[in-house]
């Protein structure tokens, strides 16, 4: 049964690694989604495990809110692209000492 937990851990780590490693903001976004959904999957799994449906209801809510949130993130991303002409994260380094 702990296969699900292992799967979720792998997915989460992949997401985290993607956030750290990739330079493309779009890909970073996708990696964040991956992390989020790994956690969602874990919730669903625990919901089945405890025979309690509220975990799955919770996941639906999270997905709905995340979708709205992603829209804002993508809008900001579009603005960045219009401004800089690129979506490489290395170009966003002006806020430093």
């Amino acid at each position: 049964m702990s296969d699900y937990i292992v799967l979720c851990c792998i997915l989460f780590s992949l997401g985290a690694f993607g956030v750290l490693y990739r330079r493309n903001i779009l890909v970073i976004f996708m990696s964040i989604e991956l992390m989020l959904n790994a956690v969602n999957l874990l919730l669903v799994y625990f919901s089945v495990l405890h025979n309690d449906p509220s975990g799955q209801v919770f996941v639906f809510f999270i997905m709905a809110v995340a979708a709205a949130e992603i829209t804002i993130g993508l809008a900001i991303l579009v603005m960045i692209y219009r401004h800089l002409g690129s979506i490489n994260i290395d170009n966003l380094k002006k806020l430093k000492w």
Partner: protein
């Protein structure tokens, strides 16, 4: 009557508030009249109390105003002690104070700060009244400090002159030393008696403290209180501020020396006489301090050439006499001398003020002379005061000095000798000053000679009133050899729990012989002075090099100021400059700077982490999460 008692200190306080708050809006000519009016109001109330006291109807009462401090067991009320002693002092303070106010109206009329001057004067009278009227040591202490503050303000009244400021600071600091003693004594009293109230402490003093077993505690209390009195009443070693206090306007000197301030120490000891009577050791010390002050100050007075300086040292010397009396257990004799001294010393100072006024500010007696004809009223009143201070019968000084000398002879003939010696010195310097000022030829400039004039009525009338009291005030206590039962004053004071002096063991003839011997000596000194300064026209040397060794010692005040300067002021100055240049700059400053530098350097280094690179931040975040998880789950 009692319901108006609060007005006595309230009126001068009101005057002070009015004058200081509306300083700019009041015409200068009015302020003196407002201030004098306030004091006159207080004086009239005091006068009705005094009538009551003289007729013997004033029982010692405590008039409470309000609760001041209530904390735990400590209950302090602002209340007034009314008995024969405090009413007596209140009469002197407001009476002589009123005359000095009136005199000041004329003396200070063209000074730019006249309103400020009168507001301080009112505050001074207020503080002194508070000191005398307080029914517990705390109220007394409040007045005690107020008097110190006012003396500072008035001595440094002409604050543009740095010397005057220094004199003011000196007075304040010297007084503070004494005040610390008073404060400690007061706290020790609370520690022993659990109260500050006179009405609680004195009746049961001998029950709570057994004088035989606890003489140490009593000695400490009385000695600490006496240190306070030393500061206020200018005794060795804290007397040096009083001669310097001449920096203030002359009426202020009269106020400080006669009616207020310096009598505070005498009052306080007379008030606490129950405690002092239980501590014979302290009384001995008081006697010796008083005697040595009387003689030392008189010796210094012999060669001074500033008219006010001579008077200042004479005050110190006369205060020594008062403490001499107290040290011999003669509280009523001490208070008696305070009374007569208040009149003749106020008269002398105001007379000196009149002379200085006529001379256009000149204070050096070497430049005066022959003022007798130009200033007749001043001369006559000054002469009366000089005769009184020298102790010529039937003027007041004779009776009060004789009372002290009789006490001294009873204790020990040698003590009588010392007293007479101090009295002779007093006679010498007073007559030296009188002759140099009023007799002989005028030695000032032509310009000054042209301007010599008698002072206006506002100044001469107070002189005449004071002269009247100088003549008559001695008759309140006539030695019993002259009039049986003439000792009215000590019986009057007995109504305020001041022990009657023990019945004199001296036979009438001994006492008369003593008087005649003292009187004969005084008169021969007067004659000798006359020969030296009038017949032979000897002048004090105009520069120091012409003085003989002893004269130079006296002229330079026995170098006491220099010794204090060397022993106390200089070392403290050196310590302070060491503290400021080494401890402050080298140690404390460096420590503070070091911590500042550390923060600065570490900040400069650590801020480099903020690189602006989102990935780096993310890595730190993930690493942080991993560490937290590791700590929580594994450890």
């Amino acid at each position: 009557m009692m319901e108006y008692v609060w007005l006595i200190p309230a009126l001068p306080l009101l005057g002070f508030l009015l004058l200081s708050l509306f300083n700019k809006h009041l015409p200068k000519s009015v302020s003196g009249y407002i201030a004098s009016g306030m004091i006159l109001g207080s004086f009239l109330i005091v006068l009705s109390l005094l009538m009551q006291a003289i007729s013997g109807n004033l029982k010692p009462t405590v008039v409470p105003l309000f609760d001041w401090i209530t904390a735990g067991n400590l209950k302090l009320s602002l209340s007034f002690q009314l008995d024969n002693l405090s009413v007596w002092f209140m009469s002197i303070i407001t009476g002589v104070g009123f005359l000095i106010h009136v005199y000041s109206i004329s003396y200070m009329h063209d000074d730019e700060g006249v309103t400020r001057y009168f507001s301080y004067l009112n505050l001074f009278i207020f503080s002194m009244l508070l000191l005398v009227m307080g029914s517990n040591y705390v109220v007394m202490f409040t007045g005690w400090e107020g008097v110190g503050l006012c003396s500072y303000l008035l001595i440094g009244f002409w604050f543009k002159n740095q010397n005057y400021n220094d004199a003011a600071k000196k007075a304040f600091i010297m007084n503070r030393i004494g005040d610390l003693g008073f404060l400690l004594g007061m706290l020790l009293i609370y520690n022993q008696f659990k109260s500050f109230e006179f009405s609680v402490i004195f009746p049961q003093a001998s029950e709570i403290i057994n004088p035989n077993n606890d003489s140490g505690i009593l000695f400490a209390i009385t000695m600490l209180l006496f240190i306070g009195a030393m500061g206020k009443s200018a005794q060795i070693p804290l007397y040096t501020w009083l001669p310097d206090a001449m920096a203030g306007p002359t009426p202020v000197s009269a106020l400080i020396h006669a009616a207020t301030m310096v009598t505070a120490g005498i009052y306080m000891i007379a008030r606490s006489n129950v405690l002092y009577s239980m501590a014979p050791c302290t009384l001995d010390i008081i006697y010796w301090v008083g005697t040595s002050t009387a003689i030392l100050a008189a010796l210094i007075g012999l060669t001074q050439t500033d008219i006010k300086k001579v008077l200042a040292y004479s005050t110190v010397s006369q205060l020594g006499f008062m403490f001499m009396a107290i040290g011999l257990g003669g509280y009523s004799a001490g208070v008696f001398h305070v009374t007569t001294h208040a009149f003749f010393k106020a008269l002398l100072f105001l007379g000196a003020g009149s002379v200085i006024h006529a001379m256009g500010g000149e204070q050096d007696i070497r430049k005066m002379g022959g003022l007798m004809k130009k200033l007749p009223i001043t001369f006559i009143t000054f002469l009366i005061a000089t005769l009184a201070i020298a102790g010529i019968p039937p003027l007041s000084g004779f009776f009060s000095k004789d009372a002290i000398l009789a006490l001294a002879f009873e204790a020990n003939p040698m003590k009588w000798g010392l007293g007479v010696f101090a009295a002779l010195l007093t006679t010498f310097y007073m007559f030296r000053m009188l002759y140099l000022t009023f007799f002989g030829e005028f030695r000032g400039t032509e310009h000054q000679k042209h301007h010599l004039h008698e002072s206006p009525a506002l100044m001469t009338v107070p002189l005449m009133v004071l002269a009247f009291f100088t003549v008559v005030s001695g008759f309140i206590e006539i030695p019993h050899v002259f009039v049986h039962g003439g000792d009215w004053f000590s019986h009057y004071l007995a109504g305020a729990n001041i022990a009657l002096p023990e019945a004199s063991h001296l036979s009438g003839s001994t006492e008369i012989v003593l008087m005649l011997v003292a009187l004969g000596l005084v008169i021969s000194v007067i004659a000798a002075t006359y020969i030296i300064y009038v017949s032979k026209k000897t002048m004090p040397a105009s520069n120091e090099a012409d003085l003989s060794g002893l004269e130079r010692l006296s002229y330079n005040k026995f170098y006491v100021d220099e010794i204090y300067d060397m022993l106390i002021v200089k070392p403290i100055g050196a310590l302070s400059s060491f503290a400021s240049s080494i401890i402050e700059k080298q140690i404390i400053d460096r420590f503070v700077n070091l911590s500042g530098r550390t923060i600065e350097v570490s900040g400069k280094t650590i801020r480099l982490i903020q690189s602006g690179d989102v990935n780096t931040y993310a890595i730190f975040m993930v690493l942080g999460i991993v560490v937290i998880l590791f700590i929580n789950l594994v450890l």
